[in-house]
Each structure stands twice: as structure tokens, then as C-alpha cells.
Amino acid sequence: MSEEKNTTGELKQYLTFVLDDEEYGVPILSVRGIQGWQKTTPIPNSPDYVMGIINLRGEVVPIIDLRKRFKLETIPYSTNTVVIVVKLEQGSEEKTVGLVVDAVADVHDINSDEMRETPEFGSDISNEFVKSLGLIDEKMVIILDINQLIDWRRLSDGEHEDMDAAMSVSEESAEPEAPAAA
């Protein structure tokens, strides 16, 4: 994709997907698979962005709705709705998690030279999830820090019943909210 082959930076591949008209990317090496949406088993007393768990080839895998996680407007799931199954790191452990997104977009090579620091008010989504911004030609891809997508400590602290509290805390960290740059 990128033509700046003569640059010194490191070339990495990213799987990109669309969420509310924005293009997001995750490192392709952390992607375990892509599959259609399937009914989940809700986990009681968990944050609303955790849709539940599914059976992924014998493994129990939680499903995260990224729209809800980023507090975007939710849309009904359609035939385009896909689940990207990724590996996250939590400490020394690896966890497999499914991410519900609007649609899968592309696979891009992005040179590390083409990565930009996240400006303070880059996007609708909270900065804590954004690692950097990747430039592909004229387009911008938001590279996610997928390890931040789930607040494991909050989940395992056992404060599950209080979903509202969980949400209001992540709202705090999303502050200050700014209009989308796009």
C-alpha cells in the first residue's frame, strides 16, 4: 500500500475496520480470525459493552461491542456486522476476545514513519484506546491499543453489579470530549 519503501521505519501490517464511518486498525498479528455475529450468552453483572460469551471452537470467548465501548451510537446488527477475534495481552497472559465492528475494511502496510502521535482531541473515542494515527495516502487510520480495550482490573474487582458506575468512570477518562476531527 504505502509507496515510501525507502524510508527507514518498520513496516507493519494492520487489519482495518469501519466503525461509525471511521477506519480503525489493529496489528494483523494479533488477529485470530474474523467471523459473523452470533448470539451470545450474556454475562450477568458485567459492563454493557461486554455482549456476552460465545463458543469459539471449544473455547469460551467474550465479545466486546466496540461501538458501546467507544460510546458511539449503537446500530442494529446486520449481515455486515462482523466479529474480529483478537489476542490481547493482560500482564503475562494472553486472552482471546471478539470485537464487534460495523464491517471489515482492508489490510494495510503502514510504515512506522507514517505513524503520528495521537493529538489530544483526535476522535470521538477516548484517547486511552488509541495508540497512534496511521497515514495511508490521504487517509487516516486510527490504530487501536487493543490491550486497553478491556479494563480487566475493574472487571475482576467484583464491582460488576454496578454497571452505571463502571460507565461513568470511563466517561471521566474520556474527558474532555471534543468534536470529531474527521
Binding site: T41, I43, P44, G52, I53, V60, V61, P62, K95
Partner: protein, 680 residues
Amino acid sequence: MTDVSMNSGAMDEIRQIFEAECYDGLNVIETGLLALKAGDNNLETVNDIFRGAHSIKGGAATFGYTDIADFTHVIETLLDKVRSDELSVSPDLVKCFLESVDCLRSMVECMGGGEYDEIETQRVKKELEAWMSEGPAAEAAAEVVSAAEQTSVSDTQVWDISFIPNKDYLQTGNQPQHIFRALAELGEVSLTPDFASFPDFCNINPEELHISWQIELKANVTQEEIINEFDWVENECKIEVTARGATEEQDETVAPVAATVEPTRQVAMADNKPAVRKEANSIRVEIEKIDKLLNLVGEMVINQSMLNQFSSSNRNDRATGVSTELDNGLAILERTTRELQEAVMNIRMLPVSTTFNRFPRLVYDLSSKLGKSVELTIAGESTELDKTVLETIADPLSHLIRNSLDHGIESPERRLAVGKPETGTISLSASHEGGSVIIRVSDDGGGLNSERILSKAIERGLVSNSDRLSKQQIDNLIFQPGFSTAEVVTEVSGRGVGMDVVRRNIEEIGGRVEVHSEQGKGSTFQITLPLTLAVLDGQLVQVGEQIFVVPLLSIVETVQVDKAKLNVISGNEVVYRLRGDVLPVVDMRSVFNIKGEKALESFENKQLVIVDIDRNQIGLIVDGLLDQHQVVIKSLETNYVKMPGVLGATILGDGTVSLILDVTTFGGPLLMGKENRVEH
């Protein structure tokens, strides 16, 4: 219940584990030696070899294989010299070491029966010992040869023994090596086999013995003593014992040592065969491979039941002939799949006896050392547990038993003084309870001194003066990391280090440990272990649109709710009157925040699942009861987090995931706050 003596089956199991450990150790030694061959005294490599040898020695000594332990000891001593640079590594030395590994291996192979080549072992041992005195290889070898060739130069008496076993000698369970070894204890032995009566190859019956021996024994013993050695087999062979000098013409039997050793070795090798075959009976497989297999089988079970569902829902569309055929085929497939699943699951499960059986010996040794009289009783040793879990609890368990012995059980005098039987009892039991395996270590000793624990805990700042703790809570403070050493512990239980480690080890595998104690009467340590991979018989229950699995073992009974029997106590606690008992009632909808009517009136005609938690019963309100299924427990933690009230998840027949409830936590704070939410 077993007493201190172990049965042979159990011993067999332990031996197999030890055997496997030995092979691991031998491989480590061998790999290390081969690396050393390059000529460098790499300390790390030497240490690796040393550790390998040491663990074999330790194990061998524990299980009473003194020959292996002694032999390994020699290796170890020599290695120590290498480690401290007193001896430099040379190819000859490595060769000698490698030979000793071979000897050790054949000794290990013969642990379960069969005979290893003692002569070769002695030779290598001598060579090792020669190295010990810093002799270079040539000298050592010379020494060995000269030692072996020391003929009747000394003034010891030489005996010639003609040993002609009957053909059916082996069938009586005897082996000529026993005799040779016994003779070797009297003095120096050299053997000359006689194959004269050996039949043609095609007539050989491998179960018959066609060899006879001329034995030369150099020892200061009487003829009677020699004949005594043949006591066992006097009817199975012909023996003639003559003193040398009286029959000097038999001199030709004194063949060179090297020549006599060879044929004996062949016999020994032939005898080794059964042992080698035995080793091939079990293989060590990485747990990961089994888990993968288990996952695949799980998938297969789900696919299979999906096929079943599809078939039965489309039965009407099919021609009758096809229908029967298909149904039969599916029925067979179902059975096979179930069996396959069970078989695979079984691979990981081991009876707790594999761990428990180490303890009688521990108790025996320790009690005699401490001058206490203690009896160990074991119950439920056939309870099966996942291998990983089993391995992890071995150390904590032995720690707890040591504690009970050391600090729990009083001295015999003291016991008599307080009116207890002189012999203390430690009991170790395992059982299934509510989807967990519970292991209890109880003693009838002095129990914990709660006052001292509390004052210690306050002193250490673990609790504050104002905290109001129950005795139970105080006793469990001994598991706190900060609560260690000092006099309280010697008085109470544990050497300080350890109790928190015990707890940590157990919690690492998702278990928990608690202590119940009554001063003067004894303590019980209760370890609750998860069945990480075990199957669980579950009752499927419906709550709203969701299906949960309640472990069948914790269900006492289920009843249909009769609203007239429901009462609300102190405004918010709901109870149910059941045959004179009053049970606290928990609405599953409230616990899990599931949409739907939560008012008390809506309970009418719902189901009340009565579960047993630590001998207390509570009732869970669910919408309906579904099937009972055997389910595979999948950890929710692997990819998510541990949830209070949830034991794990499982995959149901239709491929969907369902949560398994951990009712044992339902009595605790999880529900205490929740019950208030019940609306009236």
C-alpha cells in the same frame, strides 16, 4: 481407609511416577554430559547434571531403592569434584559418566522386576571410585582389571561350584542371578557358563533354562555357608561344592574374567526384556496436547448433538427406510462420541491416592522422630482430580500434615493428661462436594489458640483492635502473609513460613483453604479445589431467557414454590418454610440482574432449587427446570475474568455457552447485599 502400611497397588503407582522422573533425570544428565564432552567445565551444565543425579538419588532413597541411591551417590560425589574444579573434564571421564548413566538406566528399568547386570554395574562403580582418587583413566582401568584379576593370590579359600539348574528353573520364579548375587556377597565370584546342553535353535523353549554354570568363589566361608545360599532352590538344581586344592584338576574353569563376563551379560540382557516392554506401556504426553484433543472432542460432541437435533426435527420429511438407517447410525455415533469424550477426559484425571499415598510414610517417619504416636487415616482416595491440580496440592498438603503432626497433635504424656487416647489421629479425606473436590486434613490435637492469634494479628497490624471478628475469622488469620514465625506459630500451627504459601499455592489453582478449629479438640484444614477440567453433572435451569447450570451435587431437592410458605423477615429477607425448616431464599433474577418480574408474588409456581452450602441450605428461585446433563467445565478466566457466583462456563448441545453457578459462594456477601433488592 488405609493404615500406615501401603498396599502394593499404590506402591506401584508411586513407582511408576518415580520411574518417569528417573528417566527425565537421566535424560538431563545425558544431555549435560554430551554438552560437557566439548571440554569446557561450564558450571551451569555441571549443575544441571548434578541436579538430575540428585533428584534420582533423593527419589531412590525415598522409595527404598538403595542400590540406585548408592550408585547415584558415587556419581554425585564425583560430579561435586568436577564442580569444585578438583577434577577436570576429560573425554575419558565423560565416557565413564555416560557408562554410569547406562547402568543407572538399566537399574531403573529393572525397578518393577527383572534383573540388571550387576557385574557391569560394579565395574563402572569401581571405575567411578577410581576417578574419585583423581586417577586418570588408564590407571583407573588398570586398577579395575587388576582388582578383577586378583586371583587366589591372597590366602582366601577358592571354591568351585557346579551349578546345574533344572530346565524348569525359571518357571518356578527363580532366577540364577539371585544366586550369583548372593554368592557375590560372600566373596569374589567368577562365572563360566556351560552351553553344552543347549538345544538346537529350532527346539529352544524360551521359558526353559538350558545353561549351567561353573562358579569360582573366592571367599573364606565354609562349604555349608555356600550350600545355604542354594537353600531356596535345592529342589530345582544340582549343586556340587568343592574346595580348590582338593580338586586342582578343575583349574581350566578359571577363565579370564573378561571372557566370563560376556555370556552372563547376555543372560541378564535377555532377562531385561520384560522390563523394557513395561516401560513402553506408558508414554508421557504434554498436557497441552491432551487439552487440544479434549477441545476437539468437545466440538465433536456438540456437532454430533446438532446432527441429532436436525435429524429428529426433520423426521417427518424423510422416507421411513432412510429414517431408521439414519437414526441407528446417529445413535451409534452418539455412543461412540460419548465414550471418546470420557476416555479423553480420563487421561487428565488421576485418583488422589497418587498423592495421598506418600503421606503414610511421612507420618510414620515424622512421628517417630518427634516421639509422638500418630495414626493416619485416609478416606476417599479414589476421588479423581485433574493431574495439574493434584500435582499442585502435593506440597501444601504435606505442609499441612506436617503442621498437624508437629504442632497439632500433643505429646503422648500431654494427651493422656487431658484425657485423650495416647495415639493421636490425623485424617486425610477427599470427597466431591458441590462441584468441587474437598480435601480435609484433620487432627485431634490441641487446636488453635484464638486469643494468641488475635493478639498477634493486632500486633502485626493485620487487624485493628476495634474489629469484631468471629472465632472462625480469627483462626483463618493464620493464612495471612504477614502472620509468621514467632512464638504464636510454634504454639499454634505452622512454622510461620508456609501457611500463607499454602494458601497462595491453593489459590493459584482456583481453590481455597480455611481452617476450623476447636481449642483442645483439634483442627480441620479444608481445601476446596475446582474441577478445572473435570466433568460435572449439572441441572439446567431457566432464568428469564438464560440457561444456567447448577451442579447436581449441590442440589438437595427442588420444589414448586407455594406462595403461602414464603415469608419476609425484617422487611427484606425472604425465607421459605419447608417441612419445619426455614430456608433463606435467593431470587436468581435479582442476583444476576436479569429482566423480569421480581416481586414476591411472581414467585408463585416457580421452582425452588434447594442447594447445600457447607451444610446450610438455601433456596434459589428459578423460572423452570430443564434437562440434566454432564457438562465439561470451561474456565471463564481463560479469556475473561473470574465472576463471583460463577464456577465456569460450558458449551451446551446446541453449541451455545451456558454459565455454571458456583452455589458455594451464594451464602456469602454476593447475596447478602442482593437479597435486599427483592421487591415486595
